[in-house]
């Protein structure tokens, strides 16, 4: 994967675009003492303007599409987008629902998909590490 080291803390902003909260709970589980990603400097932040990575959950409802796009644009470059869960990746069980405009990659560019309903915290951490690898590549170009 080419990860030399964590050069700095990785700040993550979580967006729910119509999730059932299953994936959101698993993201929080990754922060609990059992997994404790904060020991690596990975932490959730309250605004995309401070974020390196966007964690997107949910199948993207019609109302959330514009907001998701705006949040993506407000995230400073270089950035990576990680979709967590089957709904965000493929629309999942809500496939072809009348009120969906997703999955997420129809609205914004996606770098890493973490499928699952919901995915385990280990899978989410793996996805975020893949996003770090992408950020390191982008950082080398800047």
């Amino acid at each position: 994967m080419g990860l030399s080291a964590f050069k700095r803390a990785l700040w993550v902003f979580h967006v729910s675009t119509g999730s059932c909260n299953g994936c959101d709970i698993e993201i929080l589980a990754a922060l609990t003492p059992r997994y404790d990603v904060e020991r690596f400097g990975i932490r959730l932040v309250g605004t995309p303007r401070h974020a390196d990575v966007l964690l997107v959950t949910g199948a993207v409802t019609r109302m959330m599409a514009e907001r998701l796009k705006r949040i993506y644009e407000q995230t400073p470059d270089p950035k990576a987008v990680v979709v967590v869960g089957g709904c965000g990746s493929t629309s999942g069980v809500f496939y072809e629902s009348y009120n969906l405009v997703g999955p997420v990659d129809r609205i914004i560019p996606v770098d890493v998909y973490v499928p699952g309903c919901p995915p385990r915290p280990e899978a989410i951490i793996d996805g975020v590490v893949k996003a770090v690898a992408k950020l390191e590549k982008l950082g080398a170009k800047v």
Partner: protein, 111 residues
């Protein structure tokens, strides 16, 4: 030469050369701070607007009147009447001035 470049004020002196050197130093410091900024920042995009849960923010300013909003709200009946008297016509204000002046003069001279 030096005497012409200094203005003695009694509280010290003012020298344009020292002032120019200070201004240059400030500019260099400002440039150094500016150069530490993120080059990837995109101007005239959503990145310049405040984050409000992804909502559109058309007017993100905080007006000066927001500071005393509570006071204005509490004194609404009084301020509302004052506002209605605020016609914006100078004749009205001059008239108010004359009336108040007459009252004050009556109070001062008559008392």
């Amino acid at each position: 030469m030096e005497e012409t470049l200094k203005i003695f004020t009694g509280q010290g002196y003012w020298s344009p050369l020292i002032w120019a050197a200070g201004a240059l130093g400030t500019l260099i410091l400002a440039f150094l701070i500016w150069s530490q900024g993120r080059r990837e920042h995109k101007r005239d995009t959503e990145q310049e607007l405040p984050f409000l849960s992804g909502e559109r923010v058309d007017d993100p300013r905080v007006d000066a009147s927001h500071l005393y909003w509570g006071l204005a709200e509490a004194l609404k009946p009084f301020l509302g009447r004052l506002k209605s008297w605020h016609s914006g016509i100078i004749n009205d204000y001059a008239g108010w001035f004359m009336v108040i002046l007459a009252v004050v003069l009556l109070l001062v001279l008559g008392g």
